[in-house]
Symmetry: C2
Subunit: 159 residues, 2 copies
DNA sequence: GTTCCTGCAAAAGTTTTGCAAAAAT
DNA sequence: ATTTTTGCAAAACTTTTGCAGGAAC
């Protein structure tokens, strides 16, 4: 395969990823970089499914097999770089998770699928309280509210 | 098929279910009764997947096809009798949802899968606030906290 | 009698896996 | 040089669907 110019050029994001991967015995590959770049590159790409990732990469000419996408997502979830979301549909979605990124939650329109993010310190307070009350070690929490967005309310007519 | 003795005997639970189903043009069948009875009968059966329902019914000699289980679950979710949960694994889980049952949330041990329920009025307060803030019609909300239960913490050893 | 429901088997959709070749350490 | 990773195709799994016979209204 011809050089992809990724692993050799000085790239702070790549160095960061490489360090995290190597620390746990994983390796930095161009595929893993490209997948992570999708999340950090496009502010509109907050929530992506495996298939969407595969499609977007294909659209920009990167031919990565779908199994590699799944395997990369698992690795990044285990490393704490991504979080797995169950937003509604059958498939799983992933989003960037970082020490930088505040914990946030989701408001989903069940009609058009639009996803809005929000934060509220009470959610963290409740998860802390419950995990402590039951003696759990807390890992993470997901809060998803389902409803119908203002735009879709206008389009729904009573039968 | 021989009589199953279900639809004919006076049965308050069946009458209740029949009324709810008929109101929307659905019919009371012995399969739907048996599935709902699983949830209300066994206090330990709070969270069941389609496959678990199918298996439990098979264990007690009731041969219901898996497609019927899925179709019945969809009907009951649409009628507001059951709620669909995304607890962690690949499959979906279902639990009784009633005007009686308070809104509650889940604390899941990612190691052994144990599910604990809890309530907190702050969760409802936050969902109300966010749906109103964004102009959404609120349908429902799911809050799931993941962690490691006290029992499993003792069994985990550092590698 | 009409309409809805069930069971079966087949299909669809997402996710996982075995294995040889390729890439990263 | 060693160990991990990729791509491919096939498999596994959950969930859905078409259709003919059966059950509920």
């Amino acid at each position: 395969m011809e050089g992809n110019g990724f692993t050799d050029c000085a790239n702070p994001q790549a160095d960061f990823l490489k360090e995290i991967l190597n620390r746990e015995g994983f390796r930095l590959t161009s595929q893993r970089q490209k997948i992570l770049a999708l999340f950090s590159g496009d502010p509109l790409a907050h929530h992506l499914s495996a298939e969407e990732i595969h499609q977007r990469l294909a659209d920009q000419g990167e031919k990565i097999s779908i199994s590699t996408v799944y395997r990369a997502l698992h690795v990044m979830v285990n490393l704490g770089l991504l979080q797995e979301l169950e937003l509604a549909e059958d498939r799983k979605y992933y989003e960037l998770l970082g020490p930088i990124m505040d914990q946030h939650h989701h408001l989903v329109c069940v009609h058009c699928g639009e996803v809005t993010e929000f934060e509220d310190p009470r959610i963290t307070a409740v998860s802390d309280r419950e995990t402590q009350a039951w003696g759990f070690t807390r890992l993470n929490a997901q809060f998803t509210v389902y409803g119908i967005c203002p735009h879709c309310q206008g389009h729904l007519v009573a039968p």
